[in-house]
Amino acid sequence: MTYKLFNDLEGNTAGVQLLAEQKFIPFDEANRDYQEYLEWLAEGNTPEAADG
């Protein structure tokens, strides 16, 4: 499982993309996909950087 950050129009980090499923996940604590991402981070993983 690999995640990649993505930016909004202003170039700020807006969320994280789950690459295998092409899901765009917002940084919203109430979002269950975001909670899974946090668990993945807690395991010591690091997401790919957003496109410039």
């Binding site: 993505f6 129009l9 765009f24 917002p26 604590e29 109430a30 269950r32 996909d33 975001y34």
Partner: protein, 309 residues
């Protein structure tokens, strides 16, 4: 036309429980009494059949979460009632089929996560549904209060077991949920979980007209307007069938996305087809946008928003 203006309507014995067309108005049979969404299995925005193997955690019928902790193969599908049948009353169109095609070990779970853990907390409520199986099997249930990320630990209330036969039967279970006094709710993702445990063997289970309501008895299944029920589903998941286009300007392109209803949380976006490589940016519970830094104007097809619990 006449007008009746009175302070109370009483029955012949002097009580205030008079009935109208054989129904006694009370707090429990008003519109919205059924806390289960899509209990009639009318809405399948993600598709009407899918097969799963080993450990899965998926939504297919709207609002119905299926999970297998089993070495098993399961096919979920929407099935149609025969027109005019009377085994399940009031002409429902569809029922939910859980078909276990192979099984070695473990359990299958079908559940609905009802937003807000305070639902019926400290109160008595009644679960009712119709079910059958191609062989005589037992379906069991349990009810779990989930207090959200960072909240109190889950509280589980044991449920009933139901003996399924090859004919449709109506089953009911009345139970009292614990109070949430002294608990901590956090994270914005708390819910009451109504959970069914499927039989641990090869068989085909069918379910229809699932209802959870306040009170000590099961009343007639609530038929809400089609649009109302769909909008209730879309608070948790929507899909925009068709093409979504962005407008090109300079070297970029941008298109707004308006959600059909305000969602429970900012949703996760995905798309059936996104050949232009658009970034899909959910911005909040009711709006988002698609964006291409290369100016691609290829359409995004089947954009979906998921804010399920």
């Amino acid at each position: 036309m006449s007008t009746i203006a009175v302070n109370a309507i009483t029955d012949a014995n002097g009580g205030n429980t008079t009935s109208i067309n054989n129904t006694t108005p009370n707090a429990y049979n008003t519109v919205g009494k059924n806390r289960i969404i899509n209990g009639n299995f009318d809405f399948w925005q993600r598709g009407t059949t899918a097969s799963y193997s080993v450990t899965s955690s998926q939504y297919l019928a709207d609002r119905w979460h299926m999970r297998t902790t089993a070495t098993a193969n399961v096919t979920i599908s929407r099935q149609s009632f025969t027109l005019g049948q009377t085994d399940v009353p009031n002409n429902p169109k569809y029922f939910y089929r859980w078909d276990i095609t192979s099984h070695t070990s473990g359990s299958g779970i079908l559940e609905q996560r009802i937003e807000d853990v305070s639902t019926f907390a400290g109160n008595t409520c009644t679960l009712s549904f119709y079910a059958k199986c191609n062989t005589t099997q037992t379906l069991s249930s349990t009810y779990i209060q989930v207090f959200g990320t960072g909240g109190s630990s889950d509280v589980t209330t044991s449920g009933s077991s139901f003996s399924l036969t090859t004919s449709w039967q109506k089953f009911t279970a009345t139970f009292t949920l614990p109070s949430i006094s002294g608990k901590t709710i956090a994270g914005g993702d708390d819910y009451l979980n109504i959970r069914f445990y499927m039989p641990d063997t090869v068989c085909t289970v069918d379910l229809a007209q699932v209802q959870l309501e306040a009170g000590e008895s099961a009343t007639e299944f609530e038929h809400r307007p089609y649009t109302t029920e769909l909008q209730l589903c879309q608070r948790y998941y929507f899909i925009l069938s068709g093409n979504l286009f962005s407008t090109s300007y300079s070297t970029a392109s941008l298109g707004n996305v308006f959600h059909p209803v305000t969602m429970r949380a900012t949703p996760t976006y995905s798309a059936t087809t996104n050949t232009g490589g658009h970034s899909l940016n959910p911005q909040g519970p009711n709006i988002g946008y698609i964006y291409s830094g290369t100016g691609s104007t290829s359409s995004v097809t089947g954009l979906a928003g998921d804010a399920e619990l």
